[in-house]
């Protein structure tokens, strides 16, 4: 195993907060060689459960062991207190993955601090953050947005995982535990895929600068997806899974991407045809985006083929806009989608769902069809850019049948392929002047 490892690269995984530690645990279960994992939390029990090699307890006398109570400010203060320790943990690392669930206290507060510490050490910082479920309320969403912005300030790339997307992957009756596990596994897939691209000695190498190039300035719009398959048509199946992945929105994400990094990894028998198949599917959907290809062999995969895609979206657009677009849309959906869930009394009332600065126009008048279309699009969980929503939707033209006058309702009289209900002079092309 160690032979295959890229000796020049040191990667560290940091799980921050409860969600971050849970994600870290999933990754730890995969035993990525050469990766150092650090768990950071206020909750001693959560740290005790984790198998991470390094654990940092943010608890201090400041809050008398009461945790952050969901306040990011407290989380930030606690992390600042330990800034020196965090920095020492980042020392010597080239890539730091910061995994956190935003919206809570530790994740939202400590993750940006950690990113700053890593940045100070000269590492490439990539954030993998989960955004809260819609049903968690607007306040958590706002906290998550703010944390995301802070994180973005100090990291080279932030990849968002809107948890709401998980709803599309699970059945109606899934338990909460299943749902969270599913979200964590998806996140871990992406992280592992990215790690594999970087750490494995590739047949076709992805250079470290390539990844930086893809992620730089792309921030929140970066989307990652990983799919694996085995069997005869593993490349085809993997591509299908990839396109079915909720984050790629059936390939829409690729279409809007500015840069796309594709990592293909398999056991020893990776054929050129398979690489070609995957790249063809990606390229055909990418438009004019820059595409980076990496291919690697990893014996631990056996017969499986893993495709990881990182697509970075329209960076320029994001810079202009002060608000990260994804959460804004999600807020809109929050109010429209699940009023029943949101009106629960244990959730705080959403007083200002939108920033005051923003002018909110009245709802546009829509026909019945349009309303239905919109509802369907929402149900399918499309949170891709506004472009997608604004895209013109060409309705189906109803088949118009020329009326046959009084024989409309009767069975047509067909003889030798001629419809005798049509006037004879028409069929005979008789001309009357």
């Amino acid at each position: 195993m160690n032979i295959a490892q890229n000796p020049n690269l040191s990667i560290r995984f940091f799980g921050v907060g409860n969600a971050g530690v849970a994600m870290l645990n999933v990754i730890l279960a995969r035993e990525l060689p050469g990766a150092t994992c650090v768990a950071i939390n206020t909750d001693e029990a959560s740290l005790a459960d984790s198998n991470a090699s390094e654990k940092v307890s943010l608890e201090s006398k400041l809050f008398r062991g009461m945790g952050t109570g969901g306040d990011p400010e407290r989380g930030r203060e606690l992390a600042e207190e330990q800034f020196g320790q965090l920095k020492s943990l980042c020392e010597g690392a080239q890539v730091v993955f910061v995994m956190a669930g935003l919206g809570g206290g530790v994740g939202s507060g400590a993750a940006p601090v950690l990113a700053r510490a890593a940045k100070d050490c000269g590492a490439l910082v990539i954030g993998f953050v989960a955004l809260p479920f819609d049903l968690e309320g607007a306040r958590r969403m706002r906290q998550a947005e703010r944390a995301q912005e802070a994180l973005r300030e100090f990291s080279d790339g932030v990849v968002c995982w809107p948890n709401q997307k998980v709803f599309n992957l699970i059945g109606e009756n899934s338990t909460v535990a299943e749902t969270l596990r599913s979200a964590n596994i998806r996140m871990a897939d992406g992280v592992c895929g990215l790690w594999r691209i970087l750490a494995r000695r590739g047949l076709m190498d992805v250079q470290f600068p390539d990844l930086c190039g893809v992620l730089r300035d792309a921030h929140a719009e970066a989307v990652f997806a990983a799919a694996e398959a085995d069997g005869d048509n593993r490349a085809g199946v993997a591509v299908e899974k990839l396109l079915a992945h909720p984050l790629t929105d059936g390939g829409e994400a690729l279409k809007e991407a500015r840069a796309v990094l594709v990592g293909i990894a398999a056991g020893s028998q990776l054929t050129m045809a398979e690489v070609g198949k995957v790249m063809e599917a990606v390229n055909s959907r990418c438009g004019d985006a820059r595409v980076f290809l990496g291919a690697a062999e990893d014996e631990s995969l056996g017969n499986r083929l893993v495709v990881t895609v990182v697509a970075a979206g329209a960076g320029e657009l994001e810079k202009v806009e002060p608000e990260p677009p994804a959460p804004v849309r999600r807020r809109v959906r929050t109010s429209a989608d699940q009023p029943g869930l949101l009106d629960g009394e244990f959730l705080e009332k959403r007083s200002t769902p939108r920033p005051r600065s923003r002018f909110v126009a009245a709802n546009p008048e829509m026909s019945q069809d349009e309303v239905q279309q919109l509802a369907e699009r929402r149900a399918s969980g499309s949170t891709r850019g506004r472009k997608a929503t604004n895209k013109m939707h060409q309705g189906q033209l109803p088949l118009e049948i020329v009326s046959k006058g009084r024989f409309e309702k009767s069975e047509p009289t067909i003889r030798d392929g001629q419809d005798l209900d049509v006037p004879t002079f028409v069929r005979r092309n008789m001309v009357f002047n």
């Binding site: 006058g405 009084r406 024989f407 069975e411 005798l420 004879t424 002079f425 009357f432």
Partner: protein, 407 residues
Amino acid sequence: MFDSSSIIVGLEIGTSKVCAVVGEMSDEGVLNIIGIGQSKSNGVRKSEIVDSPAAEQAVRDAIVQAETMADCEIHSVYLGVSGGHVRGFTNHGVHPVVSADREIMQDDVDDAVKNAKSVNLPAENSILHAIRQHFVVDGQQGVTNPVGMLGARLEVDVHVVHGVTNRVHNAVRAVKGLQLEVESVVFNGLAASLAILTNEQKEMGALVIDLGGGTTNYAVYADGIIKHTGVLAVGGDHVTNDLAFGLKLPLGRAEALKIEHGSALFDETVAGQEITFDRDASGAKRSVCKEHLQRIMAARMEETFQWIAEDIDRAGLLNYLGSGVFLCGGGARIPRIADLATQTFGLPVSLGRTNCISGNKAVLDHPEFATAIGLVRFGSFQQSKPAPRNPITHTVKSTLTNLFRRG
């Protein structure tokens, strides 16, 4: 019941009119038409009911009118059916004579007919008529009764008229909804030929074309028996529709112009003539070219005859029509229709006259009533069919049969 058994009613639910004809069988077996009732049809397209309530009302009107005129009560009718789904074809049956002395027995005849009747119909279809043709005994053609003859191989053709069961039952249901019994369903083309043709004409060979409002039915006789039948779901409605379409008129106006100015052949003398009429109540005038009207109509009629000629030619019967073509139905009233038919078939053409039944000639001599009168005639055959060999047993038997049939 015994009184009414001599009353035979034919009911035709046509596309343009519903017609009920009441006939009375005298003790001598002579058929006399005593009543006729008709009403404007509604809810019928191409001879098939598309709107049951409307059609039932029309049937009720016609029946009431016939009852009033005949001064009797109608309990049961012979119902004429037609429609694009009705088809006729001839099936061949063979039976080897197995008895030692090679004498053909009645059982052999029955078996041969049974073989011929066992035809492969689509599951949703059922047989309306199975008409036995002449027998062939060891290649000897034209045998009418082979019982008692010697032979090894008995062949027989059966002409089968069949239709889609459900669509036939639509008409039967409409009639039964009026508390009337349906004695039998009869194909309209067959009924019309029964009313028009004499035995001599049947022997010589004849084609009867019933030009109806929604369908055109035809039947071919040769050597005294029905050789071929067919339906073309094209009729007077199509002519009206063509005119409405071609002259850009409403259907009602097109119908009126068809009746007033229509012709089966384009008449050179009308070239350039205009027909002027009030367009609506406002008094605005509109005119159409009479030449166009006649050309459109002639094209449709010519085509209709051509389809029939082609079908009969395909059956190889065009040369057997010694007594020519007989036209009936409302379409027979179209001026110069006989000329057109003569052109198309190359045969003598005459308008069918129902001259085989006694009754009020003035009433009966309309080609529109041929089908309904034929239905009565069909009924009279049915009722007098079993030749009373043993009068007493037969009477009892038929009474019982009738009882059960009506029950």
